[in-house]
Amino acid sequence: MNIIVCIKQVPDTAEIKINPETNTLMREGVPSIINPFDLHALEAAVRIKEDLGARVTALTMGPPQAESSLREAISMGADDAVLLSDRAFAGSDTWATSYALAGAIRKLGADIVFCGKQAIDGDTAQVGPETAEFLDIPHVSYVRNIEWIRDNTIRVQRLMDEGYDVVESPLPVLLTVVKELNQPRMPSLKGKMAAKKAQIRMMGKADIEADEDSLGLKGSPTKVKSIFAPETKAGRMMIEGGPEEQVDILIKELRKIKCL
């Protein structure tokens, strides 16, 4: 079985600054980490490898510096790493990112593709599902548990606002994962030693046989007009006390705002 884990290198903070003139992210001077959700994706892949046997490839699209994240992925159990990097990819939005990732995944071949639920910088949660669409394979998002894999089928639990869905899908499939899925392991010494020596495979636009117009800025339909933090809605209140007491207060409050 071949598993590809898409990892994104992100700045080590949830509070990224945005350049007010260009409306783009300012990444200078911030240390980079692997997107935390992607560590859960990697852990899931490595556990499947340990249980059923598989080859785990970490894939990232990014600048040459993203190589350090790929080495870290190897130290945590990935067998291979691929860096998808090309000037032509610069300025990609989620569409162009997914298009390029899908091109690489098609070349590499995968039975399961893992993504994080979302990246802590871009935060769109679009890349996983979009990549699946480009690949024309099913996807399940917000996976919180993998129940089993057999006969070319996988059964997972998808986290919902309340409870979870149980979803079965044929392979190949793309899964985006939430933190509830597992506890990512520490790197291992053997992994770290392997990571130091590992050859990172490079792929550029020529390797993914891409349509030039679908790459980078040119291939990005998103135009960022302005970025702002949405206003948080005020007037929240917590009701305490026993159930009956709470119901009484709730009714009173609802009447007050004329909802009852």
């Binding site: 392991r185 520490m186 030693m193």
Partner: protein, 388 residues
């Protein structure tokens, strides 16, 4: 100070430190309080390959030496001696197999030990055999293809949790010091059970337990080395592992020292941080100097042993003796520097002080270390005279 660690040694130190900071520090007080074996941490150490550090690559280890093991032990001890004891006792239990085991025994046991799938313990001590190992009363009688073990071992670290035990038992009492042999006994062997689990002053996360052998039959192949070599196996094992106890001393002293310095910078009395008082500075200066001296000795001895030196009893005894006496002194002084806060469970140093005491006792008390050093001195002077 820079000890010129190579890239892989730095990797080992940094990863051990990361595990210590992320997995051990947050739970150490609770493990101490509840006297709970740190299985989660053992699993993390296993997953990160720490159990195979000193085991040759052909048996699934990393093929490093006692020096690298000491670095790892030091870092874990900086966070919690109870955890580091549970970890280091594996090396103690494994050395008999590593040093004297047959190829078959190595193939059978070392891969599981290196991966951390099975923990190991070393069992020498008994009620009447503490400092005086010759007092061992557990017997192993050869009956056909099996040895039959009878007796009780006490205070065995990892007892009950470990699955592989290296056990010293008497095979021929008439032969005195040459009458003991070393054996491998697996958990689950009929006739092998566990007795009382001790309630201890310190290193409470580690398990210290009785092993009871009642007509416990093990295959003849479980004899380590030859019959009669038991005490040699035990002594060479302790020679090898003692620097690890020294490394525990360096680590716990470092941990206590750091807590004391941080506290002294923050705590204000008489209108100034207490670290500004020269009396406090002098204590901290002595602590820092003693720790560095202990570390330098432990590292030097560990490297000396790894170089393949033949007789290392004296040097390993020195490393254990000095570094663990430093650990006791530094942890007591750390409590002093922190005053009443140091005495409270809210801060880590009272535990470190309780924990440090064991280092002067196990794997040979520090009196016994001085005896070993003294005997080596006598031997050396005798040799010099002979040589003219």
């Amino acid at each position: 100070m820079d000890y010129f660690l190579d890239e892989e040694q730095l990797m080992i130190r940094d990863l051990a430190r990361q595990i210590a900071d992320e997995k051990i520090v947050p739970v150490r007080a609770e493990l101490d309080e509840k006297e709970e074996f740190p299985w989660d941490i053992m699993k993390a150490l296993a997953q990160s390959d720490f159990f195979g550090l000193y085991i040759p690559e052909e048996y699934g280890g990393l093929g490093k030496g006692g020096f690298e093991l000491s670095i790892a032990i030091e870092e874990l001890s900086r966070a919690c001696l109870g955890v580091s004891t549970s970890y280091a006792a594996n090396a103690l239990g494994t050395y008999p197999i590593l040093l004297f085991g047959s190829e078959e025994q190595k193939k059978k046991y070392l891969p599981d030990i290196a991966s951390g799938r099975r923990l190991v313990a070393f069992a020498l001590t008994e009620a009447n055999a503490g400092s005086d190992a010759a007092g061992v009363q557990t017997t192993a009688r050869l009956e056909g293809e099996e040895y039959v073990l009878n007796g009780t071992k006490q205070w065995i670290t990892n007892g009950g949790e470990a699955e592989i035990y290296t056990v010293i038992a008497i095979t021929d009492r008439a032969k005195g010091a040459r009458g003991a042999s070393a054996f491998i006994v697996e958990k689950g062997t009929p006739g092998f059970t566990f007795g009382k689990k001790e309630n201890k002053m310190g290193i409470r996360a580690s398990s210290t337990r009785e092993l009871i052998f009642e007509d416990c039959r093990i295959p003849k192949e479980n004899l380590i080395g030859r019959q009669g070599m038991g005490f040699i196996v035990a002594m060479k094992t302790l020679d090898k592992s003692r620097t690890g106890v020294g490394a525990q001393g360096v680590g716990v002293a470092q941990g206590a020292f750091e807590a004391a310095v941080n506290f002294a910078k923050e705590r204000r009395q008489f209108g100034a941080p207490v670290i500004s008082f020269q009396a406090v500075q002098h204590m901290l200066a002595d602590m820092a100097t003693q720790i560095e001296a202990a570390r330098a000795l432990v590292y030097s001895v560990a490297r000396y042993i790894d170089s393949g030196a033949r007789d290392v009893s004296k040097e390993s005894a020195m490393a254990k003796l000095f570094a663990t006496d430093v650990a006791m002194k530094v942890t007591v002084d750390a409590v002093q520097v922190m005053g009443g806060s140091g005495y409270m469970r809210e801060y880590p140093v009272e535990k470190m002080m309780r924990d440090a005491k064991i280092l002067q006792i196990y794997e040979g008390t520090n009196q016994i270390q001085r005896n070993i050093i003294g005997q080596s001195l006598i031997k050396e002077t005798a040799k010099k005279r002979q040589g003219g």
